[in-house]
Amino acid sequence: MCLEHKNSLYIKIKKPTLVGFFIILNGIIMRSENWRPSASIKVLRKRALVLQKIRLFFAQRDVLEVDTPILSHASVTDEHLHSFSTQFKHPFSPQTSILYLQTSPEFAMKRLLSAGSGPIYQIGKSFRNEEAGRFHNPEFTMLEWYRPGFTHLQLMTEIDELMQLVLDCDLAERVTYQDIFKQHLGCCPLTASLSDIKTLANQHGYDELTANENNKDTLLMLLFSQHVEPQIGQVRPCFVMDFPASQAALAKISSTNPLVAERFELYFKGIELANGFHELTDGPEQLKRFEQDNTKRQNMGLDIMPIDSNFIAAINFGLPACSGVALGVDRLLMLALHCSEIDQVIAFENSRA
């Protein structure tokens, strides 16, 4: 039985009492009110102003706005990302083909970089299946940008400037994943063994979860999200740098420390706001990581994803040394407008869409 739905463990059957009657009545009113936006018009006006600010920020820096496809023939292989897919019927072909809704515009934007676009940004919709909650809507607005010639540290400075502009906040602090993990959990995430991390998780009451878990990264993600994230970036934004190499995704492995990747995340007031990389520009290594992802998918019983051969070809042609970041615009707006739920900053959250 899946734990994704509230109260799914059993179904309560109750004779409609007086209170029950009002709940039913309320439900009818709620349904008939479902045409209304989940965000107030006031918030939507502010949202438009923030988007204007972001576009002006990039225009002043000569970063080109681009618009890449939402529908693609290939998608991410990352075992933690679930793509939506749909069928394309070409008018001249009897066969249909599968198209995926992008989970981020990363591959297409990197193809533009390889083709010589120079610095680019995009504000657009991304789609992730199996994600919904206070901070998640299955479709959301992503701001993604790439800076050829920047290291991830230089890019972090630019992100910081955008944050100060939009959120009127202080300069962000910078910590390493290793230091902040050690500080809050008293254990080195890079050198600890799986059994060390299991013991640590058990000390925090996750016995049942650890019993059948043999993936160190899963446990690190659990501990980090539950015991580090809520503690950091409460006053000013906080960059966490140098993620474990096993969580590199599409980042370069550090040349000075092979245990870490040149990947960072930005947190502010308990919200994960952005994820960035000093981008991997090694085509064969990228292909290897995608194939490893698919092996993991196979072992987990997930569908194997088609590898984006155009993306691999673009890297092989020559992806310029660059850094890039993806930032959740809806979450940025939650912070800018002091909203506690993502629904409050998007016109129609998914159940009303």
């Binding site: 039985m1 899946c2 734990l3 994704e4 739905h5 509230k6 109260n7 799914s8 463990l9 059993y10 179904i11 309560k12 059957i13 109750k14 004779k15 009492t17 007086l18 209170v19 990352d78 933690h80 199996e130 994600e131 919904a132 909650g133 206070r134 901070f135 998640h136 996750y206 049942e208 979860l209 878990e213 990264d217 899963t218 993600m221 659990l222 980090f224 999200s225 539950q226 969580q247 995704a249 995340e265 994960e272 994820n275 993806a326 959740g328």
Partner: protein, 174 residues
């Protein structure tokens, strides 16, 4: 089912790093002990479903050890023990419908109707002329429950009480 107890999910929070594993942080009430606990599951993990259902039954009588309820349609009877009835014993009125939670067919929780009508068996005589309650006075009801009633309500009268907060609502309509 958790630790051998059927549970009710009160809250379920979706936790997921952008690049990483999704988790569900759930707040659970254990139906037998009544304890509320927090648990974290990996998204997609499963637990055993509990064979739990609620059924509406009429309260018949108690023999001191068990409280007997009957399904008015099938005339099937069920006996709940002290543990299942718990504090709600003071709101049981003969022939009133209660919601009984059954786990594997056995009653584990007895929930009285939201409003019950009970006779006052003991209360101080109030002042004549007092209309709305200013403070009120304690009154003992036929079931043993003690509620605060307005001063004008007298011994022998039947009053309507909200069982969820134990508050007096009105005098019963005769």
């Amino acid at each position: 089912m958790l630790d051998g107890e059927p549970c009710n999910i009160l809250e379920n929070e979706f936790v997921k790093p952008g690049k990483g594993q999704a988790f569900s942080r759930v707040k659970i009430r254990k139906l037998i002990s009544g304890k509320v606990i927090e648990k974290t599951f990996k998204s997609g993990d499963s637990v055993e479903g509990a064979d739990v259902m609620d059924t509406d039954l009429a309260y018949l009588y108690t023999d001191g050890e068990f409280w007997h309820f009957m399904n008015n349609e099938t005339f099937e009877q069920i006996a709940a023990d002290e543990k299942a009835v718990g504090e709600n014993v003071k709101w049981l009125v003969e022939n009133d419908t209660c919601t009984i939670t059954l786990w594997n067919g056995a009653p584990i929780v007895v929930q009285p109707a939201n409003f019950v009508e009970l006779e006052i068996t003991e209360t101080d005589p109030g002042l004549k002329g007092d209309t709305a309650g200013t403070g009120g006075k304690p009154a003992t009801l036929s079931s043993g429950a003690v509620v605060r009633v307005p001063l004008f309500v007298q011994k022998g009268e039947v009053v309507r009480v909200d069982t969820r907060n134990g508050e007096y609502v009105s005098r019963a309509q005769k």
